[in-house]
């Protein structure tokens, strides 16, 4: 009876420990969620020229401010633009910059191709503020393309047929050389052996 009571008390202690642990964990998570929810959400505002041409250097700016409109300084802003290439779309880095006393971060960038370029500025958040992101579209007008296709460089007369002809000729010469010897061998296969003639000559001597 005593041992049964001891065992029950032992199990009870374990159970209580578990309940305390779960409560503490849930409390921590809840506090974290509450704390996160309480972090102010900053706003980020992208700015750049309305349009550009490929290769033109433009300045991309971003203002980071708190909910009251006050600048947030010493914050890292990451700039990128979305690109779609061969049915795969992804963000390509433009660069990163740190906000100054006025909350301004600046980078320079050269658009690579014409069309609409979605530029993204993002702030990853810190101990005080949550993350923030802004996306704006830059119209890149048709202009001299950075990647341009040159007309093919051709050597007059040099083409696939010439190369094929050259290789075929070389192979034909190989075959001809073998065939010439093979034909001579076939034609004279019943003629007396040279070595036999030598032996006969030796025996005559």
């Amino acid at each position: 009876m005593m041992s049964l009571l001891k065992k029950s008390s032992h199990n009870l202690r374990h159970m209580l420990g578990l309940i305390v642990l779960v409560t503490v964990l849930m409390g921590a998570m809840g506090w974290s969620a509450v704390a996160s929810a309480q972090q102010p959400v900053p706003s980020i505002n992208l700015g750049f020229v309305e349009s550009a041409i490929p290769g033109e250097t433009i300045t991309v700016s971003a203002y980071l401010t708190d909910p009251l409109g006050s600048p947030i300084y010493d914050a890292e802003i990451h700039f990128s633009y979305n690109v779609e290439f061969m049915n795969v779309s992804d963000a390509v880095d433009i660069g990163t910059a740190i906000t100054d006393d006025t909350g301004l971060a600046l980078v320079t960038w050269q658009p690579r191709s014409d069309g609409e370029n979605a530029i993204v500025a993002s702030f990853a958040g810190n101990d005080v503020f949550t993350e923030a992101i802004d996306t704006q579209t830059l119209e890149v007008l048709p202009g001299p393309q950075l990647y341009r296709e040159l007309p093919p460089y051709r050597i007059p007369g040099a083409n696939m047929w010439l190369t094929t002809g050259l290789i075929t000729t070389v192979w034909m010469i190989f075959i001809f050389s073998l065939a010439l010897v093979g034909w001579a061998n076939l034609k004279t296969r019943n003629a007396p052996h040279n070595s036999d003639a030598v032996k006969e000559g030796e025996s005559d001597a």
Partner: protein, 444 residues
């Protein structure tokens, strides 16, 4: 000892029949290396090229280095055999057969290195079926197959009279496999004047064709690098640079082969000091041209330090590649040249040492061209490092062992010295004069 056609025939045929204990042990050890290489290759096929030291940025490593090296080795064979035949240099006669063996063995080995470098070798045929003509890789495949076929035809035509000689002299005494080989490939050669004339014409035609094919092959191999958008490889000089480098290492490899063959087959009477010294002169000539090209390349690129070539020059001069580069310059180029210029090192052993060093140097040169060129970062990263893995090294050793095995096998299938050429060129009389001169010098 009078050197006649009979003594030469006897010596070459005896060499074919002699299977010394050393030969058999070497053969078995080499087979062991080949098997180890094959096992490593099977594992590489199963696990992919990840088992090698190559990664996304160093995509060509030791396999391609060895491919370029063996392509170069083959050039030496063609140069000595065909180009010296064109120039009518009689002293080539006892060397040319070995040179032809080296050409064919080196080309077969080189092509296997390409397969070793492929993750999916079963797709190799696709380059023939779907390859684009604009790609230097396609040119290289067609060039290599043409050069290999031409070299095999050239070797066969040159060896034909000797195969008939073996058939007539010791055909009955050979083992069944070699007897079948000799009977099958000696065709119905009897030495009839009409056959001799046809063979002479064919060999002349092949000689004229095979030299430009060989030069083209090495140029195309250089274009694989030269036509890639990488500054360190961006040199119009690459073609001729590869050709001369190929002659340099190829001549060196033939000297090593000659030395071993001379010792193993007791061919001292037919491979004399004169042959080694002439090969030494060729080696020194090619080495001199290599030094000239190297200086020209370094001075013009180094003076401007244009674009990314600066990275390459810095890594060669005092960067990560400097130990390899300077070993190549001093051990691979300068010392062999000095050995050939100094009268007291101009001996058989001197030529042998110079040849071995030349080959070590050229192997290093191929390495820093291939790997050094790929180390250039095209994005703002640190230059990548490359270290061959055990798998890679095992496969490379296995294929090198296969190269030697092919040579050893060929030497037992047909005479290692061309009897026919020795007669045609009058080299038998020339080696008699060598012997007389040596005897006189010994007496004096």
């Amino acid at each position: 000892m009078p050197y006649t056609t009979e003594t030469l025939e006897r010596a070459t045929i005896e060499a074919m029949q002699r299977f010394s204990k050393r030969y058999i042990i070497t053969y078995l050890v080499l087979i062991g290396f080949v098997i180890a290489g094959a096992v490593a290759y099977v594992q590489q096929l199963q696990d992919g090229l990840y088992v090698t030291g190559m990664r996304d940025r160093i995509t060509w490593g030791l396999y391609i280095t060895m491919f370029v090296f063996f392509i170069g080795a083959s050039m030496g064979g063609t140069f000595v055999s065909a180009a010296l035949r064109l120039a009518d240099m009689g002293w080539r006669a006892p060397i040319s057969r070995g040179a032809e063996y080296i050409t064919v063995s080196a080309l077969l080995t080189a092509s296997l290195f390409i397969f070793a470098d492929m993750g999916h070798p079963e797709r190799a045929i696709n380059i023939m079926l779907f390859g684009r003509w604009e790609s230097p890789l396609v040119w290289d495949v067609y060039g290599l197959t043409t050069y290999l076929a031409g070299s095999m035809v050239y070797l066969y035509l040159a060896v034909l009279p000797d195969l008939a000689l073996v058939r007539d002299r010791i055909g009955d005494k050979l083992d069944p496999i070699r007897r079948l080989f000799v009977i099958m490939f000696s065709a119905s050669w009897t030495g009839h004047p009409r056959q001799v004339k046809a063979l002479d014409t064919s060999l002349k035609v092949m000689t004229v064709v095979i030299v430009p094919v060989a030069v083209m092959m090495h140029t195309v191999t250089s274009w694989i690098f030269g036509m890639t958008l990488r500054e360190p490889w961006d040199s119009p000089m690459f073609g001729i640079y590869f050709v001369v480098g190929a002659v340099y290492s190829g001549v060196g490899l033939i000297v090593v082969f000659m030395y071993i063959m001379r010792r193993a087959n007791k061919m001292e009477d037919f491979l004399t000091d004169r042959h080694f010294l002439n090969m030494g002169k060729l080696l020194a000539g090619a080495g001199g041209v290599m030094i000239f090209f190297q200086i020209s390349d370094l001075v013009t690129a180094g003076f401007k330090l244009k674009g990314d070539s600066a990275f390459n020059l810095y890594q060669l001069a005092d960067g990560d590649m400097a130990p390899i580069f300077w070993t190549y310059i001093w051990v691979g180029l300068m010392i062999p040249l000095a050995l050939m210029l100094l009268p007291w090192t101009r001996t058989i052993k001197g030529v042998l040492v110079a040849s071995i060093l030349a080959n070590v140097g050229m192997l290093l040169e191929r390495y820093f061209i291939v790997v050094g060129g790929l180390r250039l970062p095209l994005n703002p990263y640190e230059p990548p490092d490359y270290m061959p893995s055990i798998h890679e090294l095992t496969i490379v050793v296995g294929l090198c062992a296969l190269f030697v095995l092919l040579l050893m096998t060929m030497m037992k299938l047909a005479p290692a010295i061309s009897v026919q050429e020795m007669i045609e060129t009058g080299e038998i009389e020339a080696v008699q004069l060598d012997a007389k001169r040596e005897a006189q010098e010994a007496t004096a």
